[in-house]
């Protein structure tokens, strides 16, 4: 389908370890994890720039914490 372009990505050992763990947990490739992360980042960024806010809610502690992203 869509043409893809290749880039080199430099990750630390810790970052690569997280990437590998997510790849196993989600049953998708490491490339798929990063592409998914990009889509999610764009989605959150667009909605935050549109004036919406993102919270994590802890139902037990009855706490809401706002997630702030770059």
């Amino acid at each position: 389908m869509t043409t893809k372009r290749t880039m080199t990505l430099n990750l630390t050992d810790a970052e690569m370890s997280v990437l590998e763990q997510l790849s196993i947990q989600k049953d998708i490739t490491k490339t798929a994890v990063l592409r998914q992360a990009l889509r999610l980042y764009q989605l959150i960024d667009t909605r935050l720039r549109g004036g919406e806010r993102l919270f994590f809610e802890d139902e037990i502690a009855k706490e809401k914490k706002e997630l702030v992203v770059l």
């Binding site: 389908m1 869509t2 889509r39 989605l43 667009t46």
Partner: protein, 205 residues
């Protein structure tokens, strides 16, 4: 210009396969063109249908109220919401909106694994046997569903696809081996369907 590739539809007047373009990211102007022509067609069908024939005029079409321009505008250029269209004979023959984030499998063997979710999928009304006695093109829904499975594969989701079906379309999804997991109380009491990895592989083979 949105990327596109050539697919085949069956021209029902001749029975021949004809080339069509699968467009991979449609814009709101394109969706507006579909709304215009599809709604005009339904209105014309409704106007000329005899009273006893209203059930096949489009009035009974369960997605006749969908407005694609609004749907496409609402997702803008978000990568999480691919929008696809099929163009043939100078007309929009079908449209689909997908979501690729935050949807997970419900079948036991793919529980919690990411899936591509078909938010909306529709063929032009002149291609629907429920609306016209002689549809113009066959294969629009199949081509769109196939594209959803292919995108799922490209994203690393192994072809897993899920959707809530309008009652009028359930037989179509059954035909392609999607499994019905029953009524979803949280989704307008629509039946939820899901395609597993093996079925997806067989479908796009």
């Amino acid at each position: 210009m949105s990327p596109s590739r050539t697919i085949a539809l069956q021209d029902m007047s001749s029975g021949a396969l004809v080339p069509a373009q699968l467009i991979e990211q449609v814009d709101s102007a394109y969706a507006h063109r579909a709304d215009d022509s599809w709604l005009s067609f339904i209105a014309a069908q409704t106007a000329c249908a005899p009273p006893e024939g209203l059930s096949v005029s489009g009035l009974e079409l369960q997605h006749a109220h969908w407005r694609w321009e609004q749907k496409v505008q609402s997702v803008g250029s978000l990568l999480s919401y691919p929008t696809l269209g099929i163009e043939c004979a100078g007309e929009v023959q079908g449209l689909m909106l997908l979501r690729t984030d935050g949807e997970f499998g419900r079948l036991a063997e793919q529980l919690h694994h990411p899936i591509v979710y078909v938010v909306f999928l529709a063929a032009a009304p002149w291609n629907l046997p429920a609306v016209v006695a002689e549809p113009r093109f066959r294969g629009v829904g199949t081509a769109l569903l196939r594209a959803a499975v292919e995108i799922s594969g490209e994203l690393g989701f192994k072809g897993r696809v899920g959707l809530h079906s309008l009652p009028q379309s359930e037989a179509f999804y059954h035909r392609y081996g999607m499994r019905c997991l029953g009524i979803d109380e949280d989704k307008e009491r629509l039946n939820y369907f899901e395609m597993d990895v093996d079925t997806a592989a067989a479908f796009i083979r």
